[in-house]
Symmetry: C2
């Protein structure tokens, strides 16, 4: 069920699978809704509908320009394009913010409103292999896909261009009908989210960016967040923080082991870099591979609060264990936990995951070599009160203490876990907007995935940070990624309703007490 995930929201959709919906069926954002002028919203909706065909073309055009930081793909074209479409959507300024990696973009739309809201975009996408796709990943083809309806298939469709463009298009629609947005908007964009945002701090703390973010009520991430069946939104109040790292052992650099692959019989007297990697890795978890044993790492894990446990119990009741297991194919949760325990563990415990392993001969059959090098790609996911800086130090110290000085550690990205208070104004505005649209919401204390919200929630920005949006997409980080354009399920928003939901949030923010 890799199609149920993106880094921004591990749970909000999967946990909902198969839950009976309490939400009323029907169109979203009915004219007459409290708050914003119903006439205004109706006019905006007409403009969104009128623009729909062009909006689809614009999304296709954006999908056709993938930025993949891991591969250095379109790392200059991506930010330029991002700035262009922000300006076209009405942002008065849209500047490239240079970093030591892939550049960011910062755009502002100051309409003289009382409040500012910050918006976070990632313009980069995950790697893709066209051979694995049923429709070309860069074409953004519209296809009929049961039971969803008409969907757009493309890399970035749901993670995250499809959701992001709904905000841009909501702003276009307001302009089309002569309406100013009800809040001022600061748009901060990066192109390295998929490699764990190694330079995002440089963007968020840039002298042109930081003072504006500090004026904001908070920062939000637009995107489709509904369950595919029930339309329910799982609203997370935080996220784990990742450390992405690669461990490599290379005899040619250390002299421990051979400098190139040699005949395997020499294992009798020569160290094996690949064995040293395996043995070093093995010290990082319990023998079942499930609980980190990195020295000192578990000490800072903050236990769940009673309120968090309460939210988790609600999650367990409202979601369908069997549907998730069937999708993943796992017979049981680790340690044969109950479903509620599995959610508790998922959301409260840090992890060390091996993303990939490579070393030596990997072709068919065997080959009698003693390889000279090997690599493991890992990511650690931390929970409060663990920190990126401390974890990075712990890894090196742990390996050194056990004599694995020859295991090189390359940290390729990461940031702290994120937490946002339930009573923050942006949280309450989002809940109010969902309520106005009749969309059921389940609060989750934390996403098991990660997003660099801590750059916002921690000093110097120190603002709440959330996700908000309706609609459904799937296949983030997988082939055939898609987003629903015309929804066959009345409980799930298609493109027009998802775009209107962005307008609704801006109005809800403006109306907060």
């Amino acid at each position: 069920m890799s199609d149920q995930h993106d880094r921004l929201s591990t749970d909000r959709r999967t946990l909902m699978t198969g839950v009976a919906a309490a939400a009323a069926a029907g169109s979203f954002l009915t004219p007459g809704v409290a708050g914003a002028s119903a006439a205004d919203l109706a006019a905006i909706r007409k403009a969104v509908e009128a623009d729909k065909a062009d909006a689809i073309k614009r999304l296709q055009e954006w999908i056709a320009l993938p930025t993949v930081a891991a591969e250095g793909l379109n790392v200059n074209e991506g930010p330029a394009y991002m700035a262009k479409i922000a300006k076209e959507a009405g942002f008065q300024t849209a500047e490239i913010i240079p970093t030591d990696g892939v550049d960011g973009v910062f755009a502002t739309l100051d309409v003289g409103a009382k409040r500012w809201i910050g918006v976070y975009f990632m313009y980069d996408v995950k790697q893709y292999d066209p051979k694995e796709w049923s429709s070309p990943p860069l074409e953004g083809k519209l296809v009929e896909k049961a039971p969803f309806g008409t969907v757009m298939v493309g890399r970035g469709a749901t993670n995250s261009k499809g959701g992001q463009i709904t905000l841009l298009n909501a702003l276009r629609a307001m302009r089309a009908v002569g309406k100013k947005p009800p809040v001022n908007i600061a748009l901060i964009c990066e192109g390295e989210e998929e490699i764990a945002s190694p330079h995002f701090r440089q963007i968020a703390t840039h002298p042109k960016v930081l003072p504006v973010l500090q004026k904001c009520e908070g920062i939000y991430v637009p995107g489709p967040a509904q369950d595919r069946t029930t339309g329910e939104v799982s609203f997370t109040l935080g996220a784990k923080g990742p450390v992405e790292l690669q461990l490599t052992v290379d005899g040619s650099k250390t002299g421990i082991g051979p400098k190139a692959d040699i005949h395997s019989s020499e294992k009798g007297r020569i160290d094996s870099p690949i064995w040293r990697l395996v043995q070093a890795l093995a010290t990082l978890t319990t023998p079942d591979g499930n609980t980190p044993t990195l020295d000192g790492f578990m000490d800072k894990v903050r236990p769940l609060t009673p309120r968090e446990k309460e939210l988790i119990a609600q999650l367990a009741k409202k979601t369908n264990e069997e549907a998730i297991k069937q999708a993943y194919g796992n017979k049981a949760w680790i340690n044969n936990m109950t479903y509620e325990q599995s959610i508790e563990r998922l959301l409260s415990q840090p992890t060390i995951n091996i993303q990939g392993l490579i070393g030596g001969y990997t072709g068919p059959g065997g080959k009698t070599v003693l390889p000279s090098k090997a690599e493991a790609k890992l990511e650690i996911r931390m929970v409060p009160n663990q920190t990126y800086a401390e974890t990075v130090k712990q890894v090196r110290a742990h390996l050194d203490k056990r004599g694995f000085q020859d295991v090189a550690v390359n940290i390729s990205g990461g940031y702290d876990p994120t937490e946002t208070a339930e009573d923050a104004s942006v949280v309450q505005a989002a809940l109010a907007a969902y309520k106005k649209m009749g969309i059921p919401v389940t609060l989750s204390p934390r996403s098991a995935g990660s997003w660099p919200g801590s750059l916002f929630t921690q000093p110097p920005v120190s603002k709440p940070a959330i996700h908000y949006g309706v609609g459904f997409g799937s296949g983030a980080h997988a082939p055939d990624e898609f987003i629903v354009i015309d929804s066959a399920n009345p409980k799930v928003a298609g493109y027009v309703d998802a775009t209107m939901a962005q307008a609704q949030f801006l109005y809800a923010l403006a109306e907060m007490k």
Copy 2:
């Protein structure tokens, strides 16, 4: 120094590097040598020389037809060709011996002599990647290569077609001058040596093969066995026995872990096949990766005899530690052993080696997946009195005992260690032949590499088995494999002398008391 190895002779060349030679320089097999008629040998030599250009073409033609069992390459063409060239060399019978894998070949040349000698050929070769070669691996180009002289570069040049063809060509030369070979010859060939001979027993015990082998003095493997500098031959009295195996963990088959790659955040509650493989592997050795901890495995290791220790002490004195370290690039031997200890450990201790590791994402940077499967390619090398059958059982039992029932074990080949007594007639004949040619020999109790000699030395064949030959080749299992054709070093045989040395051995066998 991967270029110094083939499975048949780990040590005989590498250990000699840099040793000052005691051998007299000059041509081998001077007319007038004791034993065979000097006139006969001179006539044979002339025929070998006259045939040389054609012989090179025949070797090139054989190299152009690689059989690679691991890839299923030319598994039918290979044995047919092997039978053809045996017949062309004078064997009266040459039959394909069917197996459950790649077929073998058995050929006989019965000249009515008193004695039979068995000869083992492998007609298969190691995999190769043309991109890594400076000369096409299947062309067998002649190139000038300092300090060796004129060499032929090609896959199989030294491992093992180049050496094997010298015996065939010696027989051709005898026929050309009207001489019968002085012994009867039984030629047994397989095409799966590079995957650890999984079906060789079927060939050796075939009803057409076994009775003939049982008539032989012993079995020998022809091949270039001289040190590149000193011309010294390291003569091994046995070899380790391998078990080639792959460990795989696949959630789609076990339900422990996901059935396909999923978002890595789920590590919080779902088992990781890749972690389970790492943790299972880690139980197989000490934390430094050097000593097997497979349950019960070390119990059967036979300690070295005083004579074996004596031979090892001689080896250590006669060989150059620094030259070997420089070639391999290792700063030290494991556990900071002395050089003599390193040879003792190499020849007396069993090993568990990881040939390759693969699982999950292996591209640039990272990718946030929890992979569904992973594989480790291993080979275990056993010493007397460990056995293939017992080791195979121990691996499964060891993993099961630790709860790793989900780690699948695929045994892809292997056989028992080999031992041959120093006083066997074939050993003494080989030593006599080397002595007549003025070639210094160092006896080694065992090769750290492996060859399926136990199929000969154990019941039902129960015959001594050795390697014999002169010349120099390198790059077995590596790019730019080559064999010396015209030697620039007078102490090292080129093609003609290597071919004559085969004739010399047959005469020495015939002359044994």
